[in-house]
Each structure stands twice: as C-alpha cells, then as structure tokens.
C-alpha cells in the first residue's frame, strides 16, 4: 500500500515539523526547520503527479487538487523565506517596550515557536484540503485551516488583532457549521440510490450523480456554497476578511489571501463537480455568477474610500474571489480563465502583502494619506508596490491580464453582455481607485521625519516579493507546459473547455 507514500509524506512532514517547532527553544534551528520543511514540501508537491491514492481513495491527488497544492506550496516556500527577515526584526524589537502606532498602547508579541508551529499546522491543513477526495474529510480539513491560522492573526498581542482573530474564528466557524449541514444534506440525497447511501467519496458521488435526489442536492449545494463561501470571502459574508488581513503580520496575510481563500474555493469547486455530473450545472452556475458579481461590486465600493492600504489589499482579495466565482459560473473557457486567475491572484496578492509589510515596518503607518514618496525612501519596495498594483489590476504584460481577459471573452462568447459590461466597469473602477492610492504613495516626497536613517533595504525582504512578481510577469508571456496541462486538466474536471 505504501509503495509511493508521497501523499502521506506531504501531510506528515509539516505536521511533525509543527510539533517539533513547539519543542525547539532556540530561534535559529527553528527557523531553519520552517524553511527546510517548506522546501521539502515544495519539492514533493511538484513531483507528486501520479501519486497513488491512500486509504481507499480518500486521499488522492487529482489535477484540481494538484493545482491548488502547487499554488499553496510555492507561496508557502517564498513566504517562509521572507518570514525569516520578519521574525529576526521582531525579535530585535522585543528588547524595548513597544507602543502600538495606532492606539498608542503597549503590546508584546506572542511566542515565536507558537507562530512557527501554527504556520506548519496551517500548511498541513491546507495540504489536507488539496488531497481530500472525501467530502467529510474535506470539511474537517477546511475547519482545521481556520483553527491553525487564528492564533497567527493574534501574533501581535494588541486589542485590534484580538478583535480581528475573534471575528475570524467566529464567522468562519459559523460558515463551517453551515457547510457541515450541507454535507449531511448531500448524504441524504444519496438515499434514493438503489444500493442505499454511499459514502461521501468524490469518485462514488460523481459516478452516481445523475441518480441523486435533485432537490436535496440543490439544498446541499446552497449550504456548501454559503458555508465555504464565507471562508473564501464571497460577499456578503466576507466581513471577517479585511480585519484579519489588516491585523495579522503581513506575511500571514499573504498566506491567508493567496493560499487559504483558494482552499475554501476548492471546497465549492468539489460541490460544483457533483452538480455538473448530476446535470444540474446551470443551477450552481447562476448562483456563482450572482455571488461573484456581488463580491466584485461590493469590494469595489469599499476600495473606493479606503484609507488603510492593507484593508485595500484585503478588499481587492474579495474582488478577485468574485472574479474566480464568476469565471466558474460562466463555464466553458471561463473555467480555464478562473483556474489560471487563481494562480495569478495568489502570486500577485502575496507579493503585494509582502511589499506592504516592508512599508509598514519602515514607516509605521497603514494610512494611505500619511505615506508619500515611497520611490525615494524605499525605492525597491516602491517599485514592487507599483508593479504589484499593475499586476493585480490586470494590466497587459502580467498573467492576470490573460486570465481576466479569458473570463471576459467567455462572458461575451456566451452573449452575457450585461455581465461583461458590469465586469469591465468594476475592473476599471478598481483600476482607477487603486491607481490613485498607489501613485499617491509612490510619488512625491516623504512626509515622515527627515532624520529617519536611510538604511538599505534588506535583500531578504525584497527578493521574495520580487520573485513572486517575476513569476506573475512570466506567466503573462509564457505558461510552462506542465502548468498549461494542469490548468487544462483541472478545468476539464469542472466541465470546462479550453
């Protein structure tokens, strides 16, 4: 059974790493452990193709799962390297009493070992989401991602962080309880099968989908969509997202936005697969289009008067989750566009959050009004910030242009002209508004105290976002064959065509 235990290793390595991180007292070995686990996980993820399934098909890597696993693993590796610089800086600041620049109250950090352990448990949980082919197990895994990530949001022991972590935990738990209900409804819909109920194994469900009781199946889909949609950040259930993203350490925000939201999306995609197989695709697609456009529209209005650049990025994530849902809702080529956009969004958004982390660390402000003249005070980060803005708004040389364009084309091809117009309108509003904010921060002369020491930017805090940015740029001109194949196979699973 364990001839090729790749899947087991993918799960066990970060799990054991996390437990070890709790026990290691010295900083350097623990940080080395974090990066090496991330590196090993990365290698295994990209060579896991064709890994045999475990436990009678419960754990298996289909193209869809592999796509999301590769995104998660790539992001985690790059972010964990970035985190080394962050953790070292936080450690050096700990010697003095720290005052929060927003509420002016004193605060300390949580234990670094706990943060590292939670990061690795988080990776384990996300891997489990990607390899679960049993819907019950998938539910357990998605709930586990919430539990592993909540303590990370509260790393800075400040009141606002506590508030954000509480909201996150509570709202996502509500969502997950609804999704549990959805799973049970799905199980009941199998009661009409001749052989009685089947286990919620994805393969079995897909085989027998046309025989499932349609009304119960639809009810199940609604609950799964709302439940996992809460976690994915689809409006109007996104309210935890801006708080959690703006209050957690920036590299954690990068992971939340780039990896966690995708994992919740995968939960919805699994439900969509079953609807497709049951010939009820139209029902699910309408709902996804509705939620998608709603999320995009709502996010655009909130970006419109945003004074906090991390919250701006968070709302931009809501917008992009809307785009992903819309793409799948449109079907056909839109599904390929949506899968490709998931890759682009993850790379770009993580890059932006890492750059935001650099700005925050140096200028001690999240306000878009206070910050000007980045190009002079921190030129490399400023350049990354500007490129990130162009990439996230889907400007031409970047991969996101291609993916957003594919989704637009799908809307036009299917003669959904109203959707196409709304989509374009929202994208342009976001482009203009974010452009105004980002350019304001980029240009001009620095407002902050002139006696701020002009120190060089550390390579460890600019190389990781630069790598992410380059990947996003390369995808705009060249999609490597393995990725092309993975994307095509993943969209085929969802009933899409190229």
């Amino acid at each position: 059974m364990m001839n090729n235990p790749v899947i087991a290793l993918l799960l066990l390595i970060p799990l054991l790493g996390g437990i070890a991180a709790l026990l290691i007292r010295r900083d350097n070995p623990r940080r080395a452990l974090l990066v090496s686990v991330a590196g090993i996980h990365f290698l295994f993820s990209f060579t896991a193709e064709g890994a045999p399934s475990l436990h009678e098909g419960w754990f298996a890597l289909d193209p869809l799962g592999r796509l999301f696993l590769c995104i998660t693993s790539t992001l985690f590796l790059i972010v964990s390297i970035y985190s080394l610089g962050y953790l070292a800086r936080e450690r050096s600041l700990e010697k003095e009493v720290r005052t929060d620049f927003e509420s002016h109250s004193m605060f300390a950090n949580g234990p670094e070992s706990l943060l590292t352990a939670c990061l690795l448990f988080f990776l384990t949980a996300m891997t489990l989401v990607c390899v679960s082919n049993h819907l019950g197990l998938l539910w357990v895994a998605i709930e586990a991602t919430t539990l592993a990530s909540a303590p990370m949001i509260y790393f800075h022991r400040r009141q606002q962080s506590l508030e954000a972590a509480w909201k996150y935990l509570l709202i996502c738990s509500i969502g997950i309880a609804l999704a549990l209900f959805g799973n049970f409804l799905l199980a009941v819909s199998t009661a009409t099968l001749s052989g009685g109920e089947v286990e919620l194994l994805l393969g079995d469900l897909l085989d027998q989908a046309p025989l499932l009781q349609p009304t119960w199946l639809k009810a199940a889909f609604i609950f799964l969509l709302v439940g996992y949609g809460t976690k994915m950040g689809l409006a109007p259930l996104h309210t935890w997202l801006p708080d959690a993203h703006s209050e957690s350490p920036s590299f954690v925000s990068a992971l939340l936005s780039g990896a966690l939201l995708n994992c919740a999306f995968l939960g919805i995609l699994r439900a969509m697969q079953i609807l497709n197989a049951a010939n009820l695709a139209a029902f699910g697609q309408e709902l996804l289009i509705l939620f998608g456009l709603l999320s995009m529209g709502l996010a655009a209005t909130f970006i419109l008067h945003q004074r906090n650049f991390k919250r701006m990025l968070a709302y931009s994530s809501v917008e992009h989750m809307g785009i992903l849902a819309l793409g799948v809702g449109l079907g056909g080529a839109g599904i390929f566009g949506s899968m490709f956009h998931a890759v682009n969004h993850s790379l770009t958004k993580a890059m932006l959050f890492l750059a935001a982390g650099n700005i925050l660390a140096k200028l001690k402000s999240k306000s878009t009004l206070d910050i000007t003249g980045l190009s002079k005070s921190m030129p490399v980060t400023a350049a990354l910030w500007l490129c990130g803005f162009l990439a996230i708004t889907g400007s031409p040389p970047f991969g996101s242009f291609l993916s957003e364009f594919t989704i637009l084309k799908a809307a036009i091809d299917q003669e959904h002209f109203v959707i196409a117009v709304a989509y374009l309108l929202i994208l342009s509003i976001v482009f203009i508004v974010m452009g105004t904010i980002v350019l304001h921060m980029y240009q001009g002369s620095p407002l902050v105290e002139p006696d701020l020491p002009r120190e060089r930017e550390l390579w460890i805090s600019v190389i990781p976002p630069a790598v992410l940015g380059s990947l996003a740029l390369i995808l705009g001109v060249y999609i490597p064959p393995f990725l092309q194949r993975m994307l095509a196979e993943a969209s085929q699973q969802l009933g899409g065509a190229l």
Partner: protein, 211 residues
Amino acid sequence: MSDLIFVLLILTGFVFLGSGRLQFSIRTLALQGILLGSIPFLGSLQGLMGRVTFIASMSLIIKGLILPYFLTRAMHRSKAMHEDHPYVGFTASMLVGIVCLGVSFWLTSRLPVIESKPSQMAIAVAFFNLFVGLFVIMSRRKALTQVLGYLVMENGAYIFGVAYAIEAPFLVEFGILLDVFVAVFVMGIMIFHISKSFDHIDTDQLSSLVE
C-alpha cells in the same frame, strides 16, 4: 420515543433564547449534548454496532460533560455570569424563536420526503437549532454567549446527521468532534485574553475595526 427527544430539543432551543444566566445556558447546552448523544441508543438497537456506540458515547461525553465544564471555567475566569444587555431582549428573542420554528417547518415541507428515512421532524429541528444559534450569535454581546450560539448551530447540524443515521466513517466523525473541541478550546483561550485586555468580554467593545 425519538419524537419526544425532538420536542425536547426544540424546547432547549427556546430555553436558550430566553435565558440570560450563562450558567443556565451552559447547562441547557449540556442537556442538548446528552439528548443528541442518546439518539443513536434509542433507535433500533439491533443495528447498533460497536463503532456507532463508541462515537455516540464519545460525543455524549464531549458535548455533555467536557465542553460544559470547560465553558463554565471560562465563565468563572472571565467573571461574566450574566448576559446583561443583549441587543435583542429575551422576550423578543422568544418571538424570533417562534418565527424560526415556523420557517424551519416551512423549509422542511419544501424538501421531498425520503421514504427510507425517519420522520421529517428531524430536519425541522435541525434547521431550528441552526437558526437559533445564528440568532444568538448576532443578538448577544458576550463573547461566551456567542460561543454557546456557535455550539447550538453545530448541534443543529449534528442532530440532522445523527437522526438520519448518516453513515459517516469513523475518521470523519472523529474529525468533526475533534474540530469542534479544538474550536471551543481556542475560543476559550481568546475569551480569556479578551477579558484580560478589555476587563470584560462584551464584544461590542470589539469595534475599533470598522470602515
């Protein structure tokens, strides 16, 4: 016999809506946990296998004893014994409960009957507890009460699973229980932090993060 349990589960939902004393709410929740855990034992006894018995007893112990004990401790440590000023008063909450009950039965009537399954009552009770939990989370101030609301929601989903005897494999059942347990554990720790840094656990003070 199982209809009696469903009626009791509806009643506990109402008691939960109408009570402001946290100790009492926790006990109500414990009662719900015990009722839930005993459903599998009341059904057809011949079909009871070792695995089902084990999971049912474990859920009974966790939901009926361990979580209530843990929540009571959190209550004492945060020195919050009473839900003082809920956003929606207790009498109004009861009225909302009646509406929830009506909506639950209406929703249930919209779903087609499945022959091989027990009474439709189970799904109505499940919807009802789901709505009650959601309403409590939205209408109460204390962090602890919100956790209780979450548990009532979770129970709602669980009632459905248990009553319809959905064959969830051991790994999943165990995972669900473990997740709920850890969730409440983490929430309990956070309540402790909230009470330490805000001097109380009213979540309306958690409002610095608004647009």
